[in-house]
Symmetry: C2
Subunit: 481 residues, 2 copies
């Protein structure tokens, strides 16, 4: 599906988008004229100039790579997007649907007839179909299933049975296999019988009659070795293998670490069931990155930038609701000390500093720990070491920044004791941030949860409420008589 | 350097780390006994049991992939790390130094003699050397330079002349080139003369006598096409090419979009100068992701988790200082309204909610816009559309969440007018967050800066100070008589 075609250059995409937008604008202009003169719509279709624009647009799209068309569709507002989508040749629908982002895919699928969707799905391999399946209407998938051959149906079932973060979801079935007892000459002749090799074939898989993986034969070895040699003598007999149940992010680390282009996927009995290629891994790493970035800002999914206002509100509301709850809690902590604030109003101005710096410092700790956990460098017995270090860092920061703020408070309000309370409160809140900043991700990780998700909200909630409580509490004890 | 070796499996790394830690612990135990009995240190070296452990450790390391040794070194505290590093065979030093993280690399280089460093550097290709060069002492680099051949020296100079985020920094020089007027049979014979092909050779490059790139010949095509055919008839004559000045993140998008394994790098005259392979791209994407994650928490660089406290404090202080300034500004805004707070102390408890929710909402907007900019979907003329949408979303959120908070304030403090002020202040601060949330990344991007860096601090500064000002200002106008 995704072979490197001859007709794309690197500047094309932005330029193509601009050209297409220009053609669309001219098209809209004609349509606008027609509309204002109350010309019936079917006559518009007859307009020569309009026909020219549309034909030019279609030609332009034909020459483009599926991924580039996907880019253009994502960058267009809904009405232009559907207009362009109609101009794309039906036989390319499948590959383009695979390339577009989720919300744009939804908008395109909504605009299509079930018949068109079945036709588009038919063009795809089983592993690609599995990616598309969750977005297709039930009836369409049933029709597609009926049209598949027995082997493909089995592959589709297998591919759909894995969660998104498992190797099974990245796997494809485009395997070239050979036997170990033949000569390289035979392998070369066998390969020459293919019209083309599957994308990303950097190695062929060596299997026995029961499909057990015996080794892999990299094409680079095949090409330099003596053609008389036997496969068994040239192959790598102990290659890295994956299982469909392995976690995709671990597999992506192996691809990075060992610079792989493809890797075999085997079942529990060592039989070859599929392969993972580096392009899926790269896509996975990027998607993970995007998902994390969105999650950090509390966005549930990527937003089509031309999506309606209500879709955006829905996407964003959960995070705001959670923050409303934590902010309200912090507000109630302040409420406990209203009497003290009434008597020493400087407290109101100074308290957000204590809470804010604590939150920042806690987020730094969390980022370090989450990273160390992700890299597999933190084991449970390292916990004490990490606590000790973060507490030491917090103590230094607390003395330095707390001291500075104490002097600031003293300068602003002329009270040494207020300055001292400020310093001690900063120190204590930074210590709280350090301890909780290690504890939250370690606990999440021990519970089998992703330590990156939600850590930041939690630490901010703790350092806000905690910071207000510590500062106002100390002030009440020592400053308010 | 990074070929797929036969002697690694996927479970090895964590297990190897555990085994090595176990061997180290036993080694320390012997050392401890020796120490307590005040045995002279040179006798320890003679101890049989000690020798066994060390030999076992060295054997274990010999069998490991360079990337795995790098992982182990990163996961060990400094003294253990240097002990293990001494046991690694000198001829592997270069490739391992390439694999470890920056702070760990520094710690290893500090422990090495100039002579050892020169020897390690000599083992590397020019492009790898360029990656290592910034961390090597000046004298060492001068020695290495002297030892290089003329061509390699030129390549090293070229590779070092590009900034880290340019394609030139990802490029290597392991090119296999052929002429277009020969038959595939000739190419196959030519390749067979290599001992091995460079890693990630998925295609050979077709050049003329002046090194102008004429096309690329994928190995997959070479293997299936008729050996009698001419290269010119089988090659892709218009492949995607990069220049050394292209931005690495754009190149990584092209690798993703077109599923490339390698791409040619050409100069302004179309002459082939190098290539980029997908393994460098994958590393680049991951490093970018890490750098962004660290930058978001205000960490200047990755921290060796066993680094000293003062290194950590230095790494983190700039961010805390910036936040101290913005928090102090916000605090001064509150200071302006101390009189109002004294008369209506409820304001002190409610004001952090207004500021906090504004910050969260602004960060959501920024995340959306930064993402759209990174994907190239936002052009300047789309700005008005984005402002309109974000303002609409903010209005809905302001009415809903502001209304809710207004009711909360009314319930808590029994004042309808306080509730109304709360609602209006929330609405206004969310509108401020929306407008500034679009404006900041758009402006940074227009100034040629990375819109992801610093946006979050700025929006929080605006919504904090702005939120306090709006809420306390409205309260002073309408509630304080």
């Amino acid at each position: 599906m995704s072979e490197q075609t001859e007709h794309h250059h690197r500047e094309n995409v932005q330029q193509a988008l601009a050209e297409i937008q220009h053609l669309l604008a001219r098209h809209r202009l004609v349509e606008g004229l027609v509309h204002r003169q109350a010309m019936p719509r079917h006559e518009l279709v007859e307009t020569l100039v309009h026909k020219q624009h549309v034909a030019e647009l279609a030609r332009r799209l034909d020459a483009m790579h599926a991924a580039d068309i996907a880019f253009v569709l994502e960058a267009l507002p809904l009405d232009d997007r559907l207009f362009v989508w109609d101009l794309v040749k039906a036989e390319r629908d499948g590959e383009i649907l695979l390339e577009v982002s989720d919300p744009v895919r939804e908008s395109l699928i909504e605009s299509m007839e079930p018949k068109e969707l079945v036709a588009a799905a038919e063009q795809l391999d089983a592993d690609e179909l599995a990616d598309l399946a969750p977005d297709l209407p039930r009836g369409v998938m049933e029709d597609v299933f009926r049209l598949l051959g027995a082997e493909e149906r089995e592959q589709l079932r297998a591919a759909m049975s894995y969660p998104e973060d498992a190797v099974g979801a990245l796997m494809d079935f485009d395997l070239v296999t050979v036997r170990e007892d033949v000569s390289l000459e035979v392998v070369l002749r066998y390969l020459r019988r293919f019209d083309e090799l599957p994308d990303h074939t950097d190695q062929v898989y060596v299997v026995d009659r029961q499909e057990h993986l015996r080794g892999v034969l990299p094409l680079a070895r095949l090409l330099v070795a003596d053609p008389e040699a036997r496969v068994a003598d040239v192959m790598l007999s102990n290659p890295l293998t994956l299982t469909a149940e392995d976690r995709a992010d671990e597999a992506s680390r192996w691809f990075e670490r060992y610079d792989l282009v493809s890797a075999a996927v085997v079942d529990a009995k060592g039989r070859l069931v599929g392969r993972v290629t580096v392009d899926s891994v790269l896509d996975f790493v990027r998607e993970q990155q995007e998902a994390e970035r969105l999650a950090q800002a509390g966005l549930r999914e990527e937003e089509d930038i031309f999506a309606g206002v209500l879709d955006s509100v829905k996407n964003r509301w959960a995070w705001l609701a959670i923050n409303l709850v934590t902010a309200t809690l912090a507000s109630r902590v302040i409420g406990l000390f209203e009497g003290s604030i009434e008597r020493l109003v400087a407290l109101a101005a100074l308290m957000p500093i204590v809470a804010g710096i604590g939150g920042n410092s806690g987020n730094q700790t969390i980022t370090m720990i989450v990273r160390a956990i992700a890299l597999g460098q933190v084991r449970t017995d390292a916990a004490r070491k990490l606590y000790r270090k973060e507490i030491a860092v917090a103590t230094v920061n607390g003395v330095v920044w707390g001291g500075l703020l104490g002097i600031l408070a003293w300068g602003l309000y002329g009270s040494v004791s207020l300055g001292l309370v400020m310093t001690v409160a900063m120190l204590l809140n930074l210590l709280l941030a350090a301890i909780v900043g290690v504890a939250i991700p370690m606990t999440l990780s021990r519970l089998g949860r992703d330590p990156a998700v939600g850590s930041s909200v939690m630490i901010t909630a703790v350092t806000d409420s905690g910071g207000f409580f510590i500062f106002l509490g100390l002030a009440t004890l020592f400053l308010i008589k």
